[in-house]
């Protein structure tokens, strides 16, 4: 990426051509770099604001997370391995990763549907629907978990219709979503959908009509246009939405503990294992599992990011 692109994409206005602001907006030419250093002091408070930001982040977030790693390192390597690789913990990682991957994928599908409808069609209650999309951001997760578990028990509002429905192979005993893995996926999808909708909406709304018009004139069907013209443009936003809902799902505790039932090996997610270790005062073990969870989510997120960049470069060729 060229420097100028970077400046433009960072959203800073590059309006005033003269004077100090031009230099503040970025280094326009290497020769100006010297001037820029002087200019930095045109606006006050650089040292103070940066210092406060770094200090606050260090004290509240970075040093504490470091303490977690330090605590985990008090275990010998073999102990660490024994703690993080117990069958119960491994089952929990698998469920955490699996459930949040499935939920993120579902969020992408449902979020695409909702975002498409909101940005393309006119219908009654549209604005209400648009604002309700954000409810999962605002609703405390404990409330979400509580009500989801109540809705899908056999006597619940939705459970009464779903539980009698028996689907061989998938739901042989009826669609029981409360206290099951499917319930975990469901509540994580609830939390994930708004990330996808809000990532997609601006892109869908800014999509120029020209490309669709061109596709139409060239004889593409609507479906082909969507699949080959619109979807590729949406892909970065879809990936962002996927990554955000995945990150949310991997760490979620409040919503899941209510719906999952927390049975070891069946419906126990990784954060529940950490809480169990804390409650039995096995802090080093809790820290070790926390380190695994942190590394897992960072790896997944960095991986998605790299994949996205790589595919962008691939497309640019």
């Amino acid at each position: 990426m060229k420097r100028a692109d970077k400046i433009a994409s960072s959203g800073a206005t590059v309006v005033a051509p003269l004077g100090p602001s031009a230099a503040i907006n970025g280094s326009l030419a290497p020769a100006r770099r010297h001037a820029r250093r002087g200019i930095r002091r045109v606006l006050p408070g650089f040292g103070a604001s940066l210092g406060y930001t770094l200090g606050y982040l260090s004290l509240l977030v970075i040093i504490p997370l470091g303490a977690c790693f330090a605590k985990a390192m008090t275990l010998s390597p073999s102990e660490f391995w024994r703690v993080v690789s117990t069958p119960q913990a491994v089952a929990a990682y698998k469920l955490s990763v699996g459930a949040s991957l499935v939920a993120a994928a579902l969020s992408v599908a449902l979020g695409l549907l909702v975002a498409w409808v909101l940005s393309r069609y006119e219908f009654p209650l549209k604005r209400l629907l648009d604002s309700l999309v954000d409810l999962p951001f605002a609703l405390p997760t404990a409330v979400a978990g509580l009500v989801y578990s109540a809705l899908y028990v056999p006597k619940g509002w939705l459970g009464q219709f779903l539980v009698p429905v028996k689907i061989p192979m998938i739901f042989p005993n009826g669609i029981r979503l409360a206290y099951s893995r499917a319930g975990i996926v469901l509540v994580l999808t609830f939390l994930g959908v708004p990330f996808v909708v809000r990532a997609l909406q601006p892109v869908l709304e800014s999509l120029e009509a020209d490309v669709e018009e061109a596709a139409h004139l060239l004889g593409a069907t609507r479906w082909q246009t969507f699949w080959r013209v619109i979807l590729p443009v949406l892909r970065p936003a879809l990936v962002t939405g996927f990554a955000l809902s995945l990150a949310r799902g991997l760490g979620e505790y409040g919503a899941v503990v209510f719906v999952s039932g927390n049975k070891p090996f069946q419906t126990e997610i990784a954060p529940v294992v950490i809480v169990a270790s804390i409650e039995s005062y096995h802090y080093a073990e809790a820290a070790a599992v926390a380190v695994v969870l942190l590394v897992l989510s960072f790896t997944l997120l960095v991986g998605i990011n790299l994949l996205e960049r790589w595919s962008k470069r691939f497309y640019a060729r």
Partner: protein, 309 residues
């Protein structure tokens, strides 16, 4: 981010009306889906949102009020534990929000007004708490301030209570809500540009005056928007606070929901949940209003910038 990108959207589609009318027929044919597709997709979207969002919200109030209004009132205010949890939330959330407002202002000023090495890394660090499980946020506080923690012995010797008490709740809540205000402010300040502030400085304003008279009025709606989001999350935080509470009696409202649920007091649990749901709905309404305000502010700023060039 959303506010600023919406603006560019509007500009992108704001082509002259005449040319739009001329090509309208084609574009409509190209962009419009058949009626049955529209009906199907709208129906599907309404069903999805109905099942995921509307039914749960209605159900919360239904269950909370299932024993009648009198019982609802008694559940909320006749129970000392519930009363205390409401007070606790009213202390913890505002303090955490204020902490993160100050941080958000400082971070946005540094990130949106200056270019320096490591700026991207700093921006990523601001977002870091989003990818840390709330449970881990609670755990690190236990590791630092717990009895066997790094500061544990010192705190006990000086009789300072952090864990299981209000300071611990505040720290846990502040940890998980760090990014909210900063994330809203950075794009708003970048979109506004530094020109007005530079003008103020060149006219002799000091840092304090620039902040109060130029920056703050410009970003006030964006700031409020961040505060609203931050507050909603702060009031609703469960995992991090659950870990530092140690079930020692001190509770916030979400913890009270869980406690009552464990005690099989369903109507009590749903009564507290209904208050939290009401807060979420109020948050949504305020959010819609503020979104509108920020957008019109940015449009104004954009049109001013347009006049200048």
């Amino acid at each position: 981010m959303r506010a600023s990108s919406r603006i560019t959207d509007r500009n992108a589609s704001g082509r002259p009306a005449a040319s739009q009318a001329a090509r309208g027929a084609h574009v409509r044919a190209a962009q419009q889906d058949p009626l049955w597709v529209r009906v199907l997709l709208i129906g599907a979207a309404l069903t999805v949102m109905g099942v995921l969002v509307v039914v749960p919200v209605v159900n919360v109030f239904y269950q909370a009020l299932s024993d009648g209004l009198a019982a609802y009132w008694k559940n909320l205010f006749g129970d000392a534990g519930t009363r205390n949890s409401i007070l606790m939330t009213l202390v913890v959330a505002p303090v955490a929000v204020v902490m993160n407002v100050v941080f958000g202002l400082a971070a946005a000023w540094a990130i949106a007004r200056f270019r320096f090495p490591g700026r991207t890394v700093l921006t990523a660090l601001v977002d870091l708490p989003f990818s840390v499980s709330p449970v881990v946020a609670g755990l690190v506080l236990v590791l630092i301030f717990g009895l066997t923690g790094y500061f544990g012995p010192w705190l006990r010797a000086h009789d300072v209570k952090i864990l299981f008490a209000t300071p611990g709740f505040i720290l846990a809540t502040a940890f998980v809500t760090v990014p909210f205000v900063a994330r809203e402010l950075i794009p708003v300040m970048e979109a506004l540009g530094p020109e007005e502030e530079i003008a103020a400085v060149s006219l002799g304003a000091n840092a304090w005056q620039v902040f109060w008279r130029v920056t703050l009025p410009n970003i006030k709606w964006g700031l409020l928007y961040g505060v609203i989001l931050c507050n909603a999350r702060a009031m609703g935080e469960f995992g991090a606070v659950y870990v530092v509470s140690g079930h020692g009696g001190n509770e916030t409202m979400p913890l009270r929901v869980e406690k009552l649920f464990q005690e099989s007091n369903h109507s009590g649990s749903f009564a507290v949940a209904s208050v939290l749901t009401l807060l979420a709905l109020v948050t949504l309404v305020v959010k819609v209003v503020l979104e509108h305000k920020t957008r019109s502010d940015l449009v104004e700023a954009a049109s001013l910038a347009g006049d200048k060039s």
